[in-house]
Amino acid sequence: MTAHNVVETNSDDRPLAIEARGLVKDFDGTRAVDGVDISVPEGAIYGILGPNGAGKTTTLRMLLGIIDPDDGVRRVFGHDRPHDIGRLIGYLPEERGLYPAMKSVEAIAFMGALRGLPLAEGRKRGLELLERHDLGYAADRQIRQLSKGMAQTVQLLGTLVHRPRLVVLDEPFSGLDAINQGKLEGMIRSLADDGVTVIFSTHVIHHAERLCEGVAIIAGGKVPYAGSVEAARDRIPAQVRLETRMREGAWANALPNDARREGDFFYFSLPETGIEPLLKTLIEGEAGILSLSIERAGLHDAFVAIAGEAAARQLEADQAGGAS
């Protein structure tokens, strides 16, 4: 195997679909991406999270070979020139683009042809895909005659028509209503079930939390975290909510230092020693436990902790903007 065709494996022995090390990209004196490392095993659903302007699209474009990094290494299925294996990749850009005068089925076939699928086969598959997604009636309609959601679906089908092994989706959920977002989540899961690697960028964390095996959090062009969703959530201790009948007592001294009282409840991080020793103290101190719940941190909390409050606020603003 040459230096240009090196397939690395993940810690779980799956080969890597994508591997990026120290990717850097500058645009006219501005560092858009600053040393991004990402490893995506084959067959995984992987999310790139970050607020608008964080460097998600630039990173994806570098991974796909649309632009070249100024520094660092990227490999897709072991190839450092992604165009060399264009047939294996499907890409849905953030800014949707289709020829308005093209018929839906022709648009799908054309996108397949760009990836090496013969036009006739592309038309045949396009019809099948449209019918499978309840759009068979729109096969001969021009793109300009479709609704925005339908056009987005057509483009997504065009991204998949050549049956790629890696699908890269840039903000795929933006602009879709709740029903279509659900459908898209189903499609992504179905692709992963078929062994396809799916990478998508999003600023809506819930999608990533529901779908992804691994995520990379990008903020300010850097990746402060890349790994599994579980590990990200584990970075923050679980939060304990305690309600007691007694408001004071010696038992209160056993609560962790970060404990704070809000109304009838105490809130604090789950101690490293676990809840059992604390429970024992509370019972022996006759605190009168009325309720106790342990809540594991969500990906959003992890994002706030990892990327910082400013990035989190930006993310929330983006989400609000996207929702409107």
């Binding site: 500058d26 501005t30 560092r31 858009a32 302007g53 632009i67 047939r87 289709l98 042809a113 760009l114």
Partner: protein, 438 residues
């Protein structure tokens, strides 16, 4: 599709550059050819031709009316008659050299007629008035008209007096189809006309590449193309698609022109006073000249088109594309002037420059094909122009990848040395609004 077929597709992980260019060219060619816009594009040039024809006809009529060559006669009645008779007798030999003579009505029987006063009062429509007698004619006119008509008037007066022969010997003639001087002169006209047609076609059709790219930017589809295929293959595909469309346009216009010629050949010959069938062919012969014309048009088009695509690569918006195309259009005009200027100076340094500079090379070489028989220089020039096309396409696609595929509005300024030797500050993503990165 069977698994075997799918495996066959999977076995080829990418399209070759040629295949990639073909995918783009096929789509663009069909899309443009079957668009309503192309129909309007095809009939577009007919309007200027129509307007030009009308304007020319009206202008010609006006200029014929304006440019009078009538000379008024203010001599005695007998002298006037003798002058008119002399003009009639000399007309067969001297044609345009003999002015049209008419009597000035106001001078008839008016011994006090003042020709100077008459002309200065803007009366009549005479270029000059001849008074006096046959032996001493007096010409009253502006300086230029006097210089022009003095000799003919004296010749007419002399003829009227009988001091020049009343009959002229008839010479025999030996007709040659051409001479070196006339052949070169006509070939120069062929070269100039060919350059002009080449220029008009490239300018007219080159704009299509630009509008095509602008459309793709507007449709946001360019990123899908850039992700799937090497950008130089995309550019090449677009160029050849538009070249194909151009050939269709030329074929349509050519057929229209041929039809017009077939119907109105006599009228065209009469109006232009040129028998085109008897014109000497270009130095390399018509078949080779036409072949070279097609090749040089292709090269001129590809060169201009690749420049337009490069502009597209540098521009971020459709408006920028349109604005930035203006300098290229002006440059193309300059290039045409350079090539046209050097037609009459073969072998000069300037002509060599025009041949070597890729953008003017097709024009200069087409003129050469009209004037010189050597063929190997054309092979060399075509290779050179082809190389220039490849370089421009590569450069354009690189610029496109570098400058257009930027996004978002984040990022942070790099530390870098300013012109004044101080280091720039490294702003945070929130502070920076200069450059993009999402």
């Amino acid at each position: 599709m069977s698994n075997h077929d799918q495996a066959a597709i999977d076995a080829r992980p990418r399209l070759s550059r040629l295949e990639a260019a073909w995918v783009i060219a096929r789509r663009d060619f069909i899309a443009v050819l079957f668009s309503r816009a192309f129909l309007f594009f095809l009939i577009g040039p007919l309007f200027p031709v129509l307007v030009g024809g009308l304007a020319g006809s009206i202008g010609g009529q006006n200029s014929r009316a304006a440019v009078s060559s009538e000379i008024g006669l203010a001599m005695s009645a007998d002298d006037n008659a003798a002058m008119i008779a002399a003009a009639a007798s000399l007309k067969p030999q001297l044609r345009g050299g003999v002015p049209d003579l008419v009597q000035v009505p106001e001078a008839e029987g008016n011994s006090g007629f003042d020709a100077r006063d008459y002309l200065e009062q803007r009366k009549g429509n005479y270029v000059a008035i001849v008074g006096g007698t046959l032996s001493a004619p007096e010409i009253t006119a502006t300086e230029g008209q006097i210089a022009r008509w003095k000799g003919p008037v004296e010749l007419l007066a002399g003829t009227a007096l009988g001091s020049s022969p009343s009959t002229f010997p008839s010479s025999s003639t030996a007709l040659v189809t051409s001479s070196a001087a006339s052949e070169r002169s006509l070939r120069l006209r062929t070269a100039g006309a060919a350059q002009m047609i080449l220029f008009l076609l490239t300018m007219l059709l080159g704009g299509m590449v630009l509008s095509n790219l602008a459309e793709e930017k507007g449709n946001k589809i360019i990123e899908i193309l850039a992700a799937a295929l090497p950008m130089d293959a995309v550019f090449m595909g677009k160029l050849f698609a538009m070249l194909g469309v151009s050939f269709v346009g030329i074929a349509v216009w050519g057929a229209f022109g041929w039809g017009f010629w077939a119907v109105a050949e006599d009228a065209i010959v009469t109006v232009t006073q040129t028998n085109y069938r008897e014109l000497p062919g270009p130095a390399v012969g018509w078949p080779m000249f036409m072949t070279l014309a097609i090749l040089y048009f292709s090269m001129a088009y590809l060169l201009l088109g690749s420049l337009f695509l490069t502009i597209g690569g540098m521009a971020s918006t459709v408006r920028e594309v349109q604005t930035m195309s203006m300098p290229v259009t002006m440059m193309q005009l300059m290039v045409f002037f350079l090539a046209a200027y050097t037609v009459t100076m073969p072998g000069s340094v300037l002509e060599t420059v025009a041949i070597i500079f890729p953008l003017s090379s097709p024009f200069a070489m087409l003129a050469r094909a009209a004037l010189e028989e050597t063929l190997w220089t054309h092979a060399l020039a075509l290779l050179w122009q082809g190389f220039a096309v490849i370089v421009l396409v590569k450069g354009g696609s690189m610029l496109f990848r570098k400058r257009v595929m930027k996004s978002g509005g984040g990022g942070h300024a790099k530390k870098r040395r300013s012109w004044f030797g101080k280091r720039g500050n490294a702003n945070s993503a929130q502070q920076s609004s200069v450059e993009p990165a999402e």
